[in-house]
């Protein structure tokens, strides 16, 4: 009986059918390719032209502060969420406004930190390595692009070594922008993320000339 009550409490009270009101206001169909191109041009116009050092300075300062906190004996795993948030924000900004290998580093670090389940010395070492790398790059101590690439690859290797050392962990499952927003169930221990055949974002469905 108790189980029945629990189940009914979870059930949907109502399903409101999809409304076509927005379509009646703004139409539907495909966006013209020339408009897509204009949108792309807006992005290209800013890429590499904005000084990203304010983003970097803020991020490096945050990482430095978080490193102090995570080294405290009573640090909880929740602090990795703060690292995630800061790296995520930096990744989003430099990925749009800059070119170069740094975006790769932030993607590696974000996926790694989102997978961490406990704080140990290895975690501290990787985070410290990340901080030192960024600090060197943005304080202009590290200028050679080849050397920057080498260090970024080394950071990637450090993350991979961490997972080799902790085989019980798995790199967090990630998605990209080619996927529709679709996850099968709330318990993401067994999720499927992907395109539905009916719900795809392929260009031929959304971009083109409407007759």
């Amino acid at each position: 009986m108790a189980n029945d009550n629990k189940t009914s409490a979870k059930k949907a009270r109502a399903i409101m059918p999809a409304t076509r009101l927005l379509q009646s206001k703004v139409g539907n169909g495909k966006i013209k390719p020339e408009k897509i191109q204009k949108a792309e041009n807006k992005l290209e116009a800013v890429r590499g032209r904005l000084d990203i050092s304010p983003f970097a300075d803020e991020h490096i300062a945050e990482i430095k502060d978080l490193l102090k906190q995570i080294k405290k004996p009573d640090a909880s795993l929740d602090i990795t969420d703060d690292f995630s948030r800061s790296i995520m924000k930096f990744k989003g900004n430099i990925g749009i406004f800059s070119e170069g290998p740094l975006i790769g580093l932030t993607m590696i670090m974000l996926n790694w930190i989102e997978s961490i389940e406990k704080i140990d010395q290895d975690v501290l070492d990787v985070l410290n390595g990340y901080y030192v790398t960024l600090d060197q790059i943005f304080s202009d101590k590290l200028k050679d692009p080849k050397m920057i690439e080498v260090i970024i690859k080394e950071m990637q290797s450090a993350c991979e070594r961490y997972f080799s050392k902790h085989p019980e962990l798995q790199l967090t499952q990630v998605i990209d922008n080619s996927k529709a927003f679709y996850i099968d169930q709330s318990n993401h221990s067994d999720v499927k993320v992907g395109l539905d055949m009916n719900d795809d974002l392929h260009d031929d469905h959304l971009i083109g000339q409407d007759d």
């Binding site: 409101m16 703004v26 949108a39 983003f55 749009i96 998605i175 990209d176 996850i183 999720v191």
Partner: protein, 180 residues
Amino acid sequence: MPFNFSKLSVLVVEDTEPMRKLIVSILDSIDVGTIHQAKSGEEGFRKFCEHNPDIVISDWDMDPGDGLVMTRKIRKDVLSPNRLAPIIFLTGYNAVKRVAQARDAGATEYIIKPFTGSDLAKRIAYVINKPRDYIDADVYFGPDRRRRDNPDYKGPRRRVDDSSALSGDDGFMIDLGNKK
């Protein structure tokens, strides 16, 4: 009727000014008629109530009030002028667990930064072309989180109280074919 975005109104909620300006300029380039802006979830909800835009594009991490908080308010607050407004998350998070968080708050779509102009334009077209059913449950109000419609499925009904099948935390159907 082909798209006429000049009649479309969009609210952009983003705390990083250059990013906000860029999103606005992309919307402008596809001829979106009215663009409102906010710097936080709190301001976003205020502007949402004030202007009742057709679509919301929101960052995740903002203060005061992040994108999740704002989304829940748009979906559930009595002051919300349109609980069914499509909300597109635009964030650097790309882990499935984050997408699930946004989905469970009531997000309609999700774009990962860095994104392209095409990603943004396509998502706008998508939420207009494919409006979703909305679910009103004790634990959730928002777009139907079931996105697949498999006409080939011949199995049993999948609600917990329909059978002994497993269920998601809201009692909606899940894909048993995915269960190990």
